[in-house]
Point group: none
Chain length 152, copies 2
Amino acid sequence: MLSKRQRQHLIRDVVTASRVGTQSGLVRALRDLGCDVTQATISRDLRELGVERKRDEKGGFRYVLGTAEERRDPEVACSRMLEEFSTAVLAARNIVLVKSEPGTAPGMGRVIDELGHPDVLGCVAGDDTVLVVTTDDAAARAVADYFIGLGG
Amino acid sequence: MLSKRQRQHLIRDVVTASRVGTQSGLVRALRDLGCDVTQATISRDLRELGVERKRDEKGGFRYVLGTAEERRDPEVACSRMLEEFSTAVLAARNIVLVKSEPGTAPGMGRVIDELGHPDVLGCVAGDDTVLVVTTDDAAARAVADYFIGLGG
DNA sequence: CAAGCGTGTGTATGCTTATGCAGCTGATCA
DNA sequence: TGATCAGCTGCATAAGCATACACACGCTTG
């Protein structure tokens, strides 16, 4: 008998590697890998792992690992993104410019949108720059400071 | 009897505004709003709308609108958003202004971004307005016409 | 008009997932 | 040691969702 932790790890692997879309399918897959367990347990495991069931492109179902972003508080997500990828945060007039590693700006823009910050009107992400438009000049400075505080 | 389109619009509203987590709950909510329909139809509607069922923070379920990038065809997504939520599309210089129902602009902006239209440099979404910046004046007119064709 | 087709819907039902309950196991503590 | 408790699991079943089928309606075409 595998431990709960091992089993859940296995579930992650199976879900990542194959296209299983039902819990009974998962039960079978796990049995083939030497882990005998029932659907009820799988149900609870999937919940604990944050695995989601989505439609795939052909209309069938598929379990997928929840993305990091979906699991987190938006502010935490934003904080991590800023810590990891931002290279500069500047305020200019009512615009905040967030410079980031090449290719990371769209994701950065997304988490910034997710924040739902009241002073942020919206943002435009290029490849390595996010332009955040705020309500006014003071708001831009405040938002920039906020981003810097978050890890930018 | 409401049209399918109206009903689906209503479903979006209900899903956005309240925390309904079952299809029968949705059936009740819609009945209260004067739309009599069965669970089977809701099931099909949710699929067509790309609505997802997720755990909320307290362990219960909740339906949520899928994000733009999770939908298959960006043009279809954009078209739906425009049809349902836009109230005006205007071109001014190299800017296209898309006016929309209050609160819908951020979503609208996202699907417009998703389009990856070559003449669109980026956009900024407020609460009920999306500002789309295009390469030049002619592009703005072309893009505005394109949006109008899509259902704006 | 009639036939044929596509779309939308409800009904009934099957499929899938969630969960109450009880039993087991291992840890802790007096 | 025995009592107690928490965590994990399976079983049985409830809750919830998807869909095959049949029918109705509107459109098109000959």
